[in-house]
């Protein structure tokens, strides 16, 4: 089978410092894979290389069997890290999603009937149909993630690339997002994500790539999430626990814990929940 994405001995650096070295990676049609690795490992850089936004210093990147050679990758939906979004920009959910059709809709500045229908459809599919007119800032983290996923899906991509879709949302929402991606994958979508959540990756993903400047290991999390590979990837002391068919990863605490450092920490005060104090808290949250 021809890989959808193919990296052959790719090296990359922003300046003289190498960020990625000798990366060989295949992504097959229908695959669902996650890049994991510590901060600064080069995950985002690797995504951007595949997207064709950054150019490799050495090596070759092929998408659909064709070398990118400085062009952006064809038929790819990209969901950037939410932190990189300008939340004060004056756009509504619908306007953001419409951006995904920038190449398909006509020359007029306003969206056509078909554009609007597709926006409605994709928003319904991601269960945020009622939010079309909202400003993007006025959404929860999970909803924001869905909006940008909707923008990617409306472009009808063959490959979906998401940078840290589970960062900045609570555990349940993160689980939700991964579940949604699993559904898309079931319908045939090829998906590549990055994540810091090793436990979620272990539970939800069929394939992980451990990255730290080079590919340390790749395979099903069951096989490659071992103390040795994770220690090498994270340059730390990792603890891997298997229980009830699940896999848990935890960074071992430092030699000295907080209590060693501060034997008598300043204690908080548990307030009784009177209606009055409740009222005060509510109004202060509203005013933010």
């Amino acid at each position: 089978m021809q890989p959808l994405v193919e990296l052959n001995h790719v090296a990359f650096g922003y300046g003289s410092e190498p960020v990625l070295e000798d990366i060989c990676l295949h992504l097959h049609p229908g695959q669902f894979a996650a890049l994991v690795g510590p901060s600064g490992a080069g995950k985002t850089s690797l995504l951007k290389l595949i997207l064709g936004v950054l150019q490799p210093a050495r090596g070759e990147i092929c998408v659909h069997g064709k070398s990118l050679n400085g062009r952006p990758a064809p038929r790819v939906g990209y969901v950037p890290q939410l932190e990189s979004v300008d939340w004060n920009f004056p756009v509504t959910v619908e306007q953001v999603v419409l951006m995904g059709r920038v190449r398909r809709s006509g020359v007029w500045p306003w969206p056509g009937v078909e554009d609007r229908r597709r926006v409605r459809e994709v928003l319904e599919r991601l269960e945020i149909g009622g939010l079309a007119g909202r400003h993007i800032r006025d959404l929860s983290g999970g909803q924001q993630q869905r909006v940008f996923l909707a923008r990617a899906l409306i472009a009808e991509p063959d490959l979906l690339v998401l940078d840290e879709p589970t960062t900045g949302v609570d555990m349940r929402t993160a689980e939700n997002v991964l579940h949604m991606l699993a559904h898309l994958n079931q319908q045939g979508m090829t998906i590549l994500i990055t994540t810091h959540d090793l436990n979620a990756a272990a539970g939800h993903l069929p394939w992980v790539v451990c990255l730290n400047r080079r590919v340390i290991a790749q395979g099903p999390p069951d096989e490659i999430f071992t103390t040795e590979t994770l220690n090498e990837t994270y340059r730390g002391d990792m603890l891997v626990i298997r229980q009830d068919g699940m896999l848990f990863v935890q960074q071992k605490p430092h030699g000295h814990t907080y209590h060693d450092l501060v034997p008598n920490p300043v204690a908080g005060e548990a307030m009784p929940q009177t209606p009055e104090s409740n009222n005060g808290r509510l109004s202060s949250t509203v005013s933010v």
Binding site: G52, P80, F89, P90, M99, V102, P109, A155, V286, S287
Partner: protein, 281 residues
């Protein structure tokens, strides 16, 4: 009513008003993109760079629009390339290149003292300087910029929102950026005679931020900013005729006042809304 129409019997006033309305609207329109991309400084810098080009054109007896235009465009490209190819940051590159360009203009003027008077207009704006030909140029530039923004609306919006992601979705962002530099340079040159180099940056920024306060929708912000620019251009011209103050300064002061009012009203509204929530709890 006659008093109201009285200044229109003068051709210079008709020309000036028409130009001010067009330039006000034009700057308001482009300003939206400038403000949202955090490029206010580039508007300020480029107008100064173009001033250098204008003086050189004058000394070499080239056509003003051609000389200033080429110069402005080259400065924009030079800034772009400096940022792209070196470690120098955008604001530093703009600072160096445009100020040096402005200095060339100042140096030439001080060398050939006799020009000094005619460049007052370029520096501070003057309705008396607006000829029929200037109005035609302003109208042509406004039409061209309007058409470009109309037909590239979606691409420009995406590039302004997030250039890197837009590239992934197939927008030719490099081309869009170059075209936008061209549009900006053209608009600055067209505005120079009316607003003056030193005030253009304000006319680019104020209507856009005022519009931003009034709406959360990009489409409405574009319309509002253009309207605010055009209306303050019209009223500013009137005021400048009656109080005998430079047209550029009058228009910009009027815009600043409008911004102040809108800021006051919107923050009062917000506070009122907050109080409403408070009482309803």
């Amino acid at each position: 009513m006659d008093v109201f129409l009285q200044p229109f019997q003068f051709e210079f006033f008709r020309n000036g008003t028409l130009a001010a309305v067009l330039v006000g609207g034009l700057c308001g329109l482009i300003g939206v993109y400038i403000v949202l991309r955090g490029m206010s400084y580039i508007g300020h810098g480029l107008s100064h760079a173009i001033f250098g080009g204008a003086v050189v054109a004058f000394v070499m007896t080239w056509n003003f629009y051609l000389g200033a235009g080429l110069w402005g465009f080259l400065a924009a490209v030079l800034i772009n390339q400096t940022v792209r190819r070196t470690r120098i940051s955008a604001d530093a590159a703009i600072g160096v290149i445009t100020t040096a360009s402005f200095a060339i203009g100042v140096a030439l003027i001080s060398r050939y003292r006799r020009f000094t008077r005619s460049f007052d207009a370029a520096l501070f704006g003057n309705i008396l300087g607006v000829t029929g030909q200037d109005v035609l140029v302003v109208a042509a530039v406004t039409l061209m910029v309007g058409a470009i923004i109309f037909f590239l609306y979606k691409q420009l919006l995406f590039t302004t929102f997030d250039a890197e992601v837009a590239q992934v979705y197939g927008v030719k962002t490099e081309w869009i950026d170059t075209l936008f530099s061209l549009v900006l340079a053209a608009a600055l040159i067209a505005s120079m005679q009316i607003l003056g180099v030193t005030l253009i940056a304000a006319a680019l920024v104020i209507p856009a931020i005022t519009a931003r306060l009034l709406t959360d929708s990009f489409n409405r912000m574009i319309v509002l900013s253009t309207l605010i620019g055009a209306v303050t251009g019209l009223i500013g011209m009137y005021l400048s005729y009656y109080v005998d103050v430079s047209s550029g300064a009058t228009i910009v002061l009027l815009q600043a006042t409008a911004f102040g009012l809108v800021l006051m009203i919107t923050s009062l509204q917000k506070r009122a809304a907050r109080r409403l929530i408070h009482t309803h709890l």
